[in-house]
Symmetry: C2
Subunit: 644 residues, 2 copies
Amino acid sequence: MKIQDSFWNRYIQLVRKVIIPYQWEILNDRVEEAEPSHCIKNFKIAAGIMQGEFQGAVFQDTDVAKWLEAVAYTLSAHPDNELEALADQVIALIGKAQGEDGYLNTYFTIKEPTLRWTNLKEGHELYTAGHMIEAAVAYYQATKKREFLDIVRRFADLICEVFGDGEQQCQGYSGHQEIELALVKLYQVTNEKKYLETAKFFIDKRGVGENYFLQEAKDSRYKAIFPEFAGYDTKYSQSHLPVREQVTAEGHAVRAVYMYCAMADLADYYQDEKLWEACETLWNNMVNRRMYITGSIGSSGLLERFTVDYDLPNDCNYSETCASIGLALFGKRMALISKDAKYMDIVERALYNTVLAGIALDGKSFFYVNPLEVWPSNCMERTSKEHVKAVRQKWFGVACCPPNVARTLASLGEYIYFADDKRAYINLYISNQAEIDVGDKHIEIDMQSDLLNTGNISCNIGEIERGTEIEVALRIPEYAKDFVVKIQGSIVSYQVEKGYAIVKGISANTQIEIECVAPPIFVRANPQVREDIGKVALVKGPLVYCLEEIDNGENLAAVFVDTSQDIHFQYQPDLLGGIGTLLLKGQRLDKTWKQDGLYQETKMAKAMFEQVELKAVPYSSWGNRESGEMQVWLKELFAKPNNI
Amino acid sequence: MKIQDSFWNRYIQLVRKVIIPYQWEILNDRVEEAEPSHCIKNFKIAAGIMQGEFQGAVFQDTDVAKWLEAVAYTLSAHPDNELEALADQVIALIGKAQGEDGYLNTYFTIKEPTLRWTNLKEGHELYTAGHMIEAAVAYYQATKKREFLDIVRRFADLICEVFGDGEQQCQGYSGHQEIELALVKLYQVTNEKKYLETAKFFIDKRGVGENYFLQEAKDSRYKAIFPEFAGYDTKYSQSHLPVREQVTAEGHAVRAVYMYCAMADLADYYQDEKLWEACETLWNNMVNRRMYITGSIGSSGLLERFTVDYDLPNDCNYSETCASIGLALFGKRMALISKDAKYMDIVERALYNTVLAGIALDGKSFFYVNPLEVWPSNCMERTSKEHVKAVRQKWFGVACCPPNVARTLASLGEYIYFADDKRAYINLYISNQAEIDVGDKHIEIDMQSDLLNTGNISCNIGEIERGTEIEVALRIPEYAKDFVVKIQGSIVSYQVEKGYAIVKGISANTQIEIECVAPPIFVRANPQVREDIGKVALVKGPLVYCLEEIDNGENLAAVFVDTSQDIHFQYQPDLLGGIGTLLLKGQRLDKTWKQDGLYQETKMAKAMFEQVELKAVPYSSWGNRESGEMQVWLKELFAKPNNI
């Protein structure tokens, strides 16, 4: 799979050219302006080839894992001997840091060797193990080299021994979910059933009976790690109820969606209807009640968590980049299992908006927090908005988002296609060349997509055996006003199955053309979302747009728009790496207030509108010029209803 | 002074009948549902008449001080031998807890006897001393008994010895201002100049040179008290700059306004122009850029602090009740010194809205935090809105607000009148009978005010010596559309001086009548206040109004109002102890959305308004029925401007 997309390539190439090399420097503490990561040193110390103390967070090892995972995906598309050799060295180091019994975690190995598995709530051992496993699986798939896979298998074997329903086994589960989906992946490449079963054990056990984390905290060996975890709320880690009984998305958003991924996988493998229903229920709650239009989740800055239905504040939300990545991972699984395109609508929304907003166009700075409205002046340290940043940050103490964005971009191909025995599913319209297996048939696809501009897409299907045919399922995006399919230049009718246009009888060397009509539109939020009542967002296709101060002046809150107007789309090749902008008229309400004071009778301070020209840019591109205000939801100017 | 006001009496009588007795039970740990205060026990332990450990916050003693202060003001208006005897017992106990050298603070005496004055940043010793002094001064004024005053004088003498510019003296100042204004009060009743000078020392020293708090933290005797103070921001305690150079209201709001009070006092006593200018500058910054329409301050929930100009979020602000009390105290001083009525406009706003909102109509529960918009569902523990409460709380761990409200209500008379040699200033129109001295003339005033309803006020002036005359200065409130003055039944013209209507030649037995015309109005905020753009508030006279869910249904954010309509005022004797309500028409935008999802194109989800009848109640009365939504700022429904 090679992605050759004018929109995506600017980001994807950053992974290879900027992020992976930069992150390697970070891992080795060679970036002066960044906080020292100490990651590689921790492994050297654990391996006994360097003296020193552990430094960093308990989950510091995951930065190395995520780097290796991004490297793996990159190597799949762009073989690079030098990079592969470097990765091999790191893998060898990881091997040396592994214990005789397979245990692998530099924090506990160096700092708390006697406290293994005594603080599952905060220790992140199983979380860290999960990221190692994911990286090893990806590296094995990319290079066919087994060393890293063997390392994590030894660790996974230990985990399967330590955890389980047996009398001598620990009945606990991870304080931060991740191991569950990782063990499923490990099963997928090794076919070793016990990995799947242990994943199922973790999911089945969670939230059942007396809460494990509250129990373990009473043990004499328990040693607290994070002071802010005192007075623990079990919802935080989705351990408040058995997973099959959970009906609302609760707690820390990243933990939640990582768990839902494994639930979906296991529901499929075990044909567990109750688990599948829980996945659907949680999905629906999340996307219909608790998700921003940008595909982000987690309304509370404090604890990065879900709050309640329809509580979606725009200027103080957390909306972590990693949570949107997790949402995309969950949606991808739901789509793959159900073959329902509605899931990919959300995946696309998350990827095109929040995930991309997480990274600067130069690949060197990152957002953790993704507000939909920013006024830089009030994003102050030591206030309620201290988590909101008006400019992307170089790197973070807890560096989860940058490498997570990197591995997501590097693995984007996985979202574009699925296949079953007879059908190729095309989910995302991103230009690429790929080879996929549809049952026993091998096909090549060459997709050219102009989705974001004209909406014209072509897919050339090649290399099916002579005389055989396949079906192609083309996702009809929710935003498509029309979705015309042509085969070999002629418009064809098609059946729609769960949001996919099904074209049958596709043989080799067929050209499929699509016209996906998606003009810019105004979008309203459900009026239960109190923050957005009387407001509209600008959307074109998968992209949510925003106003920035640099284009529209300060005080964006004073801008109103009349939604009966047409929005003009204009591609600007020189702006922000080449983007489509939206041009429209607005009315400003802030130009007639004369005095310095704060409050005045309406009769004294009449509301006078001034017409202005507005330019909106994709939300994913915001914050790449000078620091300034940004706003997604714009006030709507209504006509007074007739009855008053 | 006896207040006999149909609006205020419901609150004032609570102090005597409910709060003082209830708080006494609290101080003695006899209220089951409240956290134990341990206050009286701490004094007994410090006095050596009980065994045990100190319990509570470092400033726990101030609860006793504020209780005594409220008792003192209450005794002035309502002599009560039993209550006075109880207070005398407490004072005797305080005396026993005092050290030989005058030191008085149960935390340090019991728990950290060797660490006196080593942590001014967090220790609250001078803050606690200040509250003791304020209480003693009030008790002396109410009862003429000297015992308590003598106790605090001994402590004040020690403070004057310990702190100062001398080589052997400590050059520090309090981490929480309060001692400064208290020492001024002590000077006022004792005429002992050193108290004034030490107050001046504290004000002059603050923020000069290397920050004292950062210095003291390097001392080997320094012992941290509050973990959240790590990484201290000197703005938090207004010690970032010398006070005369401060031009914006910064940091913890209560600390700020308590300091400004002393600055105003000292500017007056020392005729310090620079200090006076600083007071004016800070006042203007605060009331013109950083104050809510309800007279509250402190936009950030975290650290209860000011943020930046025009940052006034309505649903996550702190707006502490105590900060509005401090604002009123500061404004009262500014008004008294400058004889400018504009200060009293703000004082009145704070008292009638935020201070009263702080207390339930039954006197048994209290708000610390005073949002202007509440949606109870999202005021969740362990989220960014955890400080916002939809219902008043029984009592608090840090119990500053309830006793502070009590002493404010009990001392309300101090706000109503000022006098100088020839003039009586009438600031607030609250029905009362009072005796005041205007120069050497003793007068009686009997005021009957219907300010909140008809706006009709009468003042009968009595008891001036035959043949002599005084001037009366009647504050013309900023909201008065007309302000008609009648003397003995005939309309008179008057000069206006700094917002006061001056009526001259008033002799004994004169009836002054006022028609203060203040119909209900819509008020707009300065459009720099991003949160309030396109919104209006309902105001009548000094009262800001709000909508409550119980009267107007849920989802108040969906309500729009056309400001060209008339607002109908209706007094409802049976509602909330008797209040004026405002009735108007609204348009709801939330009745036509059909589906469960979150986002839809405007063309598919048309905005349909439904006309509704709205009823607004005074903000001060909100939250006294069932828990529900509340909102001050309502969306305005504009006519589309002609140019589109």
